[in-house]
């Protein structure tokens, strides 16, 4: 029962955060909603034995969102941003497509029965996979982060420098 309650709380965090991110027009509110989503997902990840992913989410995503919040404050000059809303047609299309997707996927999901294998998971397996089977992928990840950081520095460099 306690586990159920904790999972429900984490799920509520995720759902509420997603709704805030999607509906808010203020960058600060969006960022706070996103932090709520990350908190919920992190808790769920801890419960399903994916602690390393939860740790990465907590450490890196939270830092990135803090950066986004600081940029939001920076960009709006300590004023609340009021953004022009899109047309009503776009809102209705978005809502309909999201609702149809949710209903169809849930129906497909509930029709399937999943076979559950009861064996233990381990971090050792994760490390072995990362350093042996998917070592090239690890190198690719490192290269992509390097390119991303270098590219962002080049893009943000002031003209004339």
């Amino acid at each position: 029962m306690n586990n159920d309650l904790i999972i429900i709380i984490y799920m509520l965090f995720s759902v509420a955060g997603s709704i805030v991110v999607v509906n808010s027009k203020n960058h600060i509110h969006m960022s706070i909603g996103y932090i709520a989503v990350i908190s919920g997902i992190t808790g769920i990840m801890f419960y399903i034995n994916a602690g390393i992913i939860a740790l990465i989410l907590l450490l890196i995503h939270t830092i990135s969102v803090v950066l986004i919040i600081s940029f939001g404050i920076f960009a709006c000059g300590f004023q609340v941003i009021v953004i022009k809303t899109k047309e009503r047609f776009a809102k209705i299309c978005g809502f309909l497509s999201a609702t149809i997707l949710f209903l169809v996927m849930t129906m497909i999901l509930l029709k399937n029965d999943f076979i559950i294998i009861n064996q233990m998971n381990s971090y050792k397996l994760f490390g072995e996979l990362l350093t042996e089977k998917y070592f090239l992928l690890l190198e690719l990840i490192a290269l992509s982060i390097l390119i991303a950081v270098t590219g962002s520095v080049i893009v943000l460099r002031k003209r004339g420098e």
């Binding site: 799920m11 991110v21 808010s24 996103y34 769920i44 994916a50 992913i53 999943f114 294998i117 982060i145």
Partner: protein, 97 residues
């Protein structure tokens, strides 16, 4: 309840739907970015959930979840820098212009 896979999958479907709605609805580039990242998070959650409930003897799902998280972070760096550069030129990040 926490031992049932369907609960987590419904949550991830909800998050994907929310993300798609946000990408279509939001008029701010940052709103679109965060909505897209919600979709990425839902995908990572799906991988981890399937690894935990169905393929417990393998760790591939967690590893691909790790890859999704890292790639989403690097894409976020690039997109945030583009948005910042756009803001520096136009003093606005509204997409309704």
């Amino acid at each position: 309840m926490y031992n049932q896979i369907h609960i987590y999958l419904v949550l991830s479907i909800f998050m994907v739907s929310c993300g798609i709605y946000g990408v279509i609805r939001q008029s701010s580039l940052f709103g679109m970015l965060l909505s897209a990242k919600i979709i990425f998070l839902a995908a990572a959650l799906n991988f981890s959930v399937f690894n935990h409930f169905i393929f417990k003897d393998k760790g591939d799902g967690n590893l691909f979840s790790f890859v999704i998280v890292i790639f989403s972070i690097s894409s976020m760096i690039v997109i945030a820098s583009f948005i910042l550069a756009y803001y520096r030129d136009n003093r606005n990040i509204d997409t309704d212009l």
